[in-house]
């Protein structure tokens, strides 16, 4: 079963994403900030197949986590979720190795299509 790690500082968003992704048959783990993502990835040898990373989170932002994950050699697909439609932020994320950007509010048809494509 495909494992997806979802990181967002909002419990509601986490609940939404977990519910929706589980409905689609994914195994979902969650993290509340960038640090938890890093911990989760390093703690589990049998890590996630894809990470859904909110750009703005306390303690450690999604962008910072992305940078560290990529510099740590992690190669699994990572999608950045952002409330900012600002092109600067999105362009920056792609340069740092994100595999795509998901603007809020989330278009789930689009998101699920991309996850399927990246993990297929």
């Amino acid at each position: 079963m495909t494992k997806v790690l979802v990181a967002d500082d909002s419990e509601t968003i986490l609940l939404l994403l977990r519910t929706r992704l589980e409905m689609e048959g994914y195994e979902v783990t969650t993290a509340a900030d960038g640090q938890e993502v890093l911990d989760a990835v390093s703690a589990s040898p049998n890590g996630p197949d894809l990470i859904l990373l909110d750009a703005m989170m306390p303690r450690k932002s999604g962008i910072d986590a992305l940078r560290e994950l990529r510099s740590g050699g992690l190669e699994i697909p990572i999608l950045i979720v952002s409330a900012h439609r600002e092109e600067e932020a999105l362009g920056n994320a792609e340069d740092l190795g994100a595999d795509g950007l998901v603007p809020k509010p989330i278009d789930f048809d689009d998101l699920l299509g991309r996850i399927a494509e990246l993990t297929g």
Partner: protein, 604 residues
Amino acid sequence: MNPSLANRLRIGFAITFALLAGVTVIGVGRLFQLRQDFEDDTNRSFQFELAGEHLRQGFLNEQARLDDVADRDPGARARYRLAVRGTDAAAVDARRLLDNDSEAEQLLNTRVAAEGRWRTRVADPVLRGRAPPPARQRRLAQAVVSSGNALIANESRQRQVLRDQVSDDTRKTALLVGVGLISGLIAAVLLFSGLIASMRRPLERLVDASGRLAGGDLKTRVEVGGPAETATLGLAFNEMADELQGAYRSLEDSRRQLAVTLESLSDGVITVDPGGIVTDANPAARRLLPGATIGTQVREVLVTGSITPGKVERLLAGLEQEEVHSGEGATVLAITGSPMGTPEGGSVLSIRDVSERARLERMKDEFVLTASHELRSPLTSVQGFAELLMLERDKLSPKQAETVEIILDNTQHLVRLLNDLLDLARSDAGRLTIKPERCDVGPIAEDAARLMRALADSRDQRLAVEIDGDLPQISAEPDRVKQVLVNLLTNAHEYSPEGASIRVTASRVGDEVELAVADNGPGIPEDQLDYIFERFTRGDAGLTQRVGGTGLGLAIAKSLVELHGGAIGVSSQLGEGSTFRVVLPALSGKEAKDAPITSTDATP
């Protein structure tokens, strides 16, 4: 008031004229009279002398006739008596011409007496035939001749005396006339110099006073006096001085009011001459633009900031209404220029410190940006959970399903509103950017129409797309152009009734490509056309309640079009429909396509 100078002059002239004319008439009359008398006297004198001559001739005749008598010549006695009568007639003539001359009368009497003695003592005896001795005859005849000669000599002498006297009288008269004329002239000179003197003092006072007035002493008044003219002049001068003083005072008052007003204005005011040199600056101007001191070139002060030289020129000419100029630190100044409108030219610049407004606008922009970001997460949840519910629609009652659909519709609307607000806030903050690329408008228009097709169909509206062949390419961000068209089409759809006809056309107009969205809806009232592109402006309130939309679509469309270097406009006829036209510059063959254009390049 004194008699006028004109009247004084008239009187003076009359007196002088009468004086001179009198003297002349009297003198000349007297000379004529003298001449006449002289001629009369001379005439009579010559006649008297002639009578004397006749006496002499008569006596000679008597003597000759008496000699004839003595020679016993027949008829001689008759001739002698005839001669005696001739002599006596001459004596009567002479006596008639005597003219009260006693000396001449005495001489005449002597002559007549001598002749009488000669007749009695010589002629009578001869006639009786007894001739007296020749010595007596000679003596008595000699007495007659000498007394006659004396008479004639006396008359000749008298004439000489008369001539001398007349020439003496003439000289005296001429002298008198001359003296009279000279006195008259002297009197006239005195009269006129008196008149001039009566003018001189008041005139001198006027000259002095006008000199002082011209020198700026507006309190100067002149003492009114002299002839009516100078008195009037003095009164007029004083009145003029009063008015001048009054006018100057009110001018001074308004100048002072203006100065106080300018001093107390919180806006800066700078006046510049036609060359752009600062001629005056109020305290606020000196505070806001410390460089703009009197005598400096205003262009140098202004151009250092965000204002280009061209804008400064338009500002000075009054063509540019307002410019934002980043002064010292975070100061933002709004500058308005207007030409002075005086023959000398020059301009007035008013400067307002709008830093606070600019700061508030920045805060507002930041707030909108932040708020729209912060709202996205909750919106994501609402929309996401509503979608979750809809995934299990079969487990919901129809009523519940409808409710969830309403939630989703409103969420969509909220998202559009947030996106629009965000675009506008970015545009205001100068952070709205486009990524232009070389593209064709045809597919963009088709794309926009396709997005709108379902909505149009839902209300039986016909949606036609007409793309001219051979359209030039444009440099634009296709998504943004599509956004503009979708905004226009959304309006056309929402404001037009069911069954309406909507047309999207793309055509070439000169060096530009024109995209037009036309509908045959209700049209837009003329008074709303001017501000229809302002945000949150929507047409008819009745329609507004029915239609959706955020009221931001046209404002965003305008920002986006201007960001592309284009222009947007509308024409509308009530009851006929509206046409929105977007013109975008066409790309010429070799033009570069990838330089990003930021909003600061295009938005005012």
